[in-house]
């Protein structure tokens, strides 16, 4: 794994990044002139309406999409090298667990692929499942778990191989609000415990404000960054009640303003 030797603490660095999809209906500009830097240990949320390119940006970081202009580095290397170095874990919108594998064997999947030894594998599975509070569900199959537990298992899978960067694409989007609140506070604890850098896509304002140290507001057509907000909330422990504080509401209002400003009213 590459370490950037204290030279730069930037985990993701995008300059003038653009991505245009060529479709049969003509070109679709998914990202346009995105400049952004994510520092080590940050929790960065990307928020914006559908079509603003937030997921696309995450996929560019993960080398699942190729930018058509500008530059981007991940851990100081190209996204492709970062992927080959297995320097990030990706959590998708759906759990994407393999139904024929038990929970522990789903978590073992990246470890098997990356060639971890048997004993190491067991220890990592145990540790990852502990981090997401899924001890005791090792032998269950995905269909035996609730949606929230399945998504937790998929987070455990992304944690198992100790990548410093966690990319999360609306991981709790399909869950109800109660489960979501719970998982959000769990995620904050996990972030504090693991000191990972997290890039988190969402379209919930409270979620973005509650979780993040930095909020990136994006707007659609073409997808671009309209505001970058550094959170004034304390790092680390944030009780759920923090969402009623004036500070929180102020941040939420600024995010809302940013979203409104970027919104094109002709739709």
């Amino acid at each position: 794994m590459t370490t950037d030797g204290g030279k730069s603490q930037s985990v993701v660095e995008a300059k003038g990044l653009g991505l245009t999809f060529k479709t049969s209906d003509g070109d679709v500009v998914a990202l346009s002139d995105v400049n952004l830097s994510i520092s080590r240990g940050e929790f960065v949320s990307f928020i914006g309406p559908s079509g603003c390119g937030k997921t696309t940006f995450l996929r560019v970081i993960a080398d699942l999409e190729q930018p058509t202009s500008g530059t981007i580095t991940v851990n100081g290397t190209s996204p492709a090298d970062a992927r080959v170095n297995r320097s990030y874990g990706y959590v998708f919108q759906a759990p994407a667990l393999f139904p024929w594998r038990s929970i522990e064997s789903n978590v073992a999947l990246p470890l098997e692929i990356m060639g971890y030894g048997d004993a190491d594998r067991k220890a990592r599975i145990r540790k990852s499942l502990e981090l997401v509070n899924l001890e005791g569900f090792e032998k269950k199959f995905p269909w035996q778990l609730s949606g929230g537990m399945q998504q937790r298992a998929s987070i455990a899978r992304a944690l198992a191989f100790d990548a410093d960067l966690l990319l999360m694409d609306e991981p709790f989007g399909a869950l109800d609000e109660i489960v979501r609140d719970h998982l959000n506070s769990e995620l904050l604890k996990l972030w504090a415990a693991t000191r990972k850098t997290i890039a988190f896509v969402t379209h919930s304002i409270p979620e973005a404000v509650y979780l993040s140290t930095k909020i990136v507001v994006m707007s659609p057509r073409p997808g671009r960054v309209t505001d970058i907000i550094d959170s004034t909330l304390p790092r680390g422990e944030r009780p759920l009640e923090i969402r009623e504080t004036p500070e929180f509401l102020q941040l939420a209002a600024r995010v809302r303003d940013g979203l409104r400003a970027g919104h094109s009213y002709e739709e």
Partner: protein, 293 residues
């Protein structure tokens, strides 16, 4: 309310009973002309109906043998002679079974290999599939003799030519099913494997193959049944080698209708048993793969 009619047994037995009764009735109707001729020669007149019916059930070479005659022939065929004797139906069933299983194994292997090539290679997708479909539009009855005679001419006889015909039939459902099965993984699952920088082999072993197992078993159930048909058709082209097909053939040459029906039922039972065995394999695999019961 449970009782006999609660489960499947009762209804199945009733249908079976209806079929057997209908069969006996048809046996009387279809065997009556010949029985009339026989009775006429023997100067028997005014035979009562029950006696006449029993006569039609007891002919040597009836047009339609009665069920008990077929059952009797199956019984003596299976247990009346040593299993190694050419008179034994079990002996012939064994020959057919061997060719069926060999052909089925080859066909499944060929089908899987073709499906893998088709899924992983765009060129083979476009070039192979039309030929695979065309192969099944040729009547197997026309191909079988050519295969058996042709291979016989170069000294390949016995089980192999028949197995090749079985393979020719059984690879098709496997290709079609497995192409679909290997393509079931969703984009999100393939993306996941990409984030792990998984090799194509790992993607195949850990994602595509396990995802396609349900399709494999569905295809194999069809494949094994038509493998048996392939083996029997192959045997029809070479009556020296033995097998259920040969029993059908010699039976029809000699008007031994009872023998034909007995061989027919043995073949059907054999196919049913094989399909059930594949089903058990499927259940076993399902249990290991955590499929919801």
């Amino acid at each position: 309310m449970r009782g006999l009619m609660g489960g499947k047994t009762g209804p199945v037995l009733i249908v079976l009973l209806a079929i057997v009764l209908f069969w006996y009735a048809m046996a009387i109707v279809m065997n009556a002309p010949w029985q009339n001729t026989l009775n006429g020669r023997a100067n028997l007149t005014d035979v009562p109906f029950t006696e006449f019916a029993l006569q039609t059930f007891g002919q040597d070479k009836p047009v339609l043998p009665a069920p008990h005659q077929v059952v009797g022939a199956i019984w003596t065929g299976l247990f009346g002679a040593a299993i190694t004797a050419p008179r034994s139906l079990a002996f012939h069933a064994g020959i057919t079974l061997g060719a069926t299983l060999l052909g089925f194994a080859l066909g499944t292997l060929l089908g899987v290999l073709l499906a893998v090539a088709i899924v992983h290679n765009n060129a083979s997708d476009r070039s192979l599939m039309p030929w695979i479909i065309a192969s099944q539009t040729v009547p197997i009855l026309a191909i079988a003799p050519m295969v058996v005679v042709g291979l016989g001419a170069v000294g390949v006889t016995g089980m192999v030519p028949k197995a090749l015909i079985s393979m020719y039939l059984s690879f098709f459902p496997v290709v079609v099913g497995m192409v679909k099965g290997l393509r079931t993984p969703e984009a999100i699952q393939l993306d996941l494997m990409r984030t792990y920088n998984a090799s194509p082999l790992q993607v195949f072993m850990k994602l595509r193959w396990p995802a396609s197992i349900p399709f494999l078993f569905a295809s194999m159930k069809v494949g094994i049944a038509i493998s048996l048909i392939g083996a029997v058709v192959g045997e029809l082209s070479n009556n020296a080698g033995g097998g259920l097909g040969v029993r059908l053939l010699t039976g029809s040459y000699n008007g031994q209708t009872i023998q034909i029906w007995a061989a027919l039922f043995i073949a059907a039972a054999l196919a049913a048993i094989l399909v059930i065995l594949v089903g058990w394999g499927e259940k076993l695999a399902n249990r290991r793969m955590g499929v919801r019961a």
